[in-house]
Symmetry: C2
Subunit: 401 residues, 2 copies
């Protein structure tokens, strides 16, 4: 971090965008020292950091960046309460440093920590962790593997885990380094069950597209709103230690792009209930227009088919809303195949049973889109609240309240 050149890039120009997004630079800017004029200088966005400490963990209300890795871990045989606390202390310390552009303690590749690139590290607890910690009575009522759905073809390689890390950043190298550090530092306590990488690319404030070409995630909950507080963050009423936390549902959804690509644009729009061009509902003109599920054409046929994804996924009341925060995945195809693509569907909500599950059950019962999508992985986690400041650790409220 000593060379001012390392803080500058000609690729991106200085401005207020990062500050407006609640992101702060990790370091001052010294373009004069670097031999650039101010006009030439580019603030290196890879130095932007997201605060670590707070009432909530970062990575949920945070605008999703370009890259994610979800890592699922199983506790080693015999690892118990004190081991889990030790692990959480290590992860807290690592995350508090890495997210701020500082190497972890004993970081063997400290150079890879110097570009935090809006890194966030979010920790979650699987159902079995509570048993292993001998605190089964503190497990939230909704924390269990989802019930089996007829559409599921779950692969154990992507299903369940005792602990999860959601690691997000604008740069893939930053994500790789953080996954490595956090996995390695607790390797005597856990085994890696899966690592699932994803990406999303959209201009700020716009909705991403998935690899079927659809605008994906239009119906959502805006950060820093009353709705977000009400629908995403737990208030501790039924599970006091979880106040300020939430839940994470991660579903790996494989896409059959070969058959999807045989469907014409009209067929796609009737399947989804939205226009491919801009994501507008078939009854509207702009992406965020409310779908009118009662509208019919001159022949009395619903404009948005009742079987369409939009109609089936729509919350039937306000209490079914949740935060969508998905990422595309695209892996090497299996022999004889063209693609291995899909979506890491990520839902955050206060109560899985009340919010996510009714929607998921409707979609599993029937959704025109199911012909081209297959859930191949599934996991549910409780997300503890944030770390209020130095000296505390992630999940402390569970163990010490």
């Amino acid at each position: 971090m000593a060379d001012p050149h390392s803080r500058l890039s000609r690729r991106r120009l200085l401005g207020g965008g990062a500050a407006a997004a609640g992101v702060v630079g990790a370091a001052g800017i010294g373009w004069g020292a670097a031999g650039f004029t101010r006009e030439e200088a580019v603030r290196d966005e890879a130095l932007d950091v997201v605060p670590f400490y707070g009432a909530h963990q970062a990575g949920i209300e945070t605008n999703p960046p370009g890259h994610v890795a979800f890592a699922g871990f199983d506790l080693a045989p015999g690892a118990g309460r004190e081991d889990i606390i030790g692990l959480l202390r290590i992860w807290t310390d690592d995350a508090s440093r890495l997210t701020q552009g500082l190497p972890a303690l004993a970081d063997t590749e400290p150079e890879l920590a110097t570009r935090p690139a809006r890194l966030t590290i979010t920790v979650g607890f699987g159902p079995e962790l509570f048993t292993r910690a001998e605190m089964a009575e503190r497990r939230p009522s909704w924390l269990r593997q989802l019930p089996p759905f007829p559409v599921d073809r779950l692969d154990p390689a992507y299903t369940g885990a005792d602990l999860v890390l959601q690691i997000c950043a604008e740069e893939a190298t930053t994500v790789a380094h953080a996954v490595r550090v956090l996995s390695k530092h607790v390797k005597s306590l856990v085994t890696v069950r899966w690592v699932q990488r994803g990406f999303r690319d959209a201009p700020r404030g716009q909705t991403m597209r998935n690899l079927m070409g659809q605008v994906d995630g239009t119906v959502n909950i805006a950060p820093r709103t009353v709705d977000f507080d009400r629908l995403v963050w737990d208030d501790g009423a039924s599970t006091p230690w979880l106040a300020g936390g939430t839940s994470l549902v991660l579903r790996r959804i494989a896409m059959d792009l070969d058959t999807w690509d045989e469907l014409d644009a009209d067929g796609r729009e009737l399947t989804v209930g939205r226009r491919v061009s801009n994501g507008a509902p078939l009854t509207g003109t702009a992406e965020h227009d409310e779908p009118d599920l009662t509208a019919v054409d001159r022949n009395g046929i619903p404009v948005i088919p009742p079987s369409s994804h939009v109609a089936r996924a729509r919350h039937t009341h306000d209490g079914e809303r949740f935060l969508r925060r998905g990422f595309n995945y695209d892996e090497a195809p299996a022999p004889g195949q063209l693609s291995n693509s899909g979506l890491l569907f990520v839902a955050y909500q206060r109560d899985v049973d009340a919010q996510f599950l009714p929607v998921q059950q409707r979609l599993a019962e029937f959704d025109a889109l199911n012909e081209w999508t297959t859930p191949v992985g599934s996991a549910v986690f409780a997300i503890p609240p944030g770390v209020p400041g130095p000296g505390h650790y992630l999940g402390q409220q569970l163990f010490e309240s």
Copy 2:
């Protein structure tokens, strides 16, 4: 592309960086119409395009962007000369459109083409293609699988191929779409042998770091120099159809990070011969200082060990230099493992036998770094020259000159 908002992002600010790098915007900027002031406006770099037509294929002299996919294809049984020409016409047409931010013909996800993000698509020919095209006499003398090296542990899943696509862009979604389109459009003529994805993150003009934390690729050939023309681009002297083309060597190098991480900083620097902090040779202070392989300390011991990577990899004469253009990879670990990381080592040179092979042979014989690295994939390709303009196709010089 109709909404001016789609051309603006608050993340990145308007400026001269892209133009200075030889990149041109795909679309004009309309921040007034978008409700932003000029100072607030951010030119969306995802609209930047790299020219497709030219004497050379793009993606070689081009500054490497954040993401790559290498896709290796085998010709279907029975596919011959006319099939190959047909395939190359399709790929030329697809690449000429996608790289400019336009959908391919019959693109089933045209929306995913609207963010070219400096997309380049580079095509190469494996050894067997010349036999299948009944033009074995036109195969360059150096175009064959590399000889086996004792350090190799090659996996057929990453080795050889009749055709290769190098697809590079700043956004992973753009790469995924291009791989899909180009694979799908020729699926009756080829099978996918492998797809290898990679990434690199460095401020413009600086050298990337690999996942061992090293500055990687310091010794290189600068674009748009006499050296580049002399060492990378073929002049057609021995293979007339290849004038303006080059060769590509792709080596997949697995890293054993678990044992690497047991090595302290001094051990790493003696292994590599460079400082971890800034990539300077142990005899210098700055990254691009020339290593002094003759320097000894007061005990007469070489400052840069003769067994170090720098000493072994160093060209012994100017004619052994080549272009390095590598990318990191980081895949899901195998069961029981922590990491599955490494480097897609990519070398471009006029003559594999004269330039790359002597260096590779020295490294395979002995390189201190070999204790932590293992080549697990290997392929060599001839890269035909660029397409001079519309109406021509990639590789036409091979078939029609």
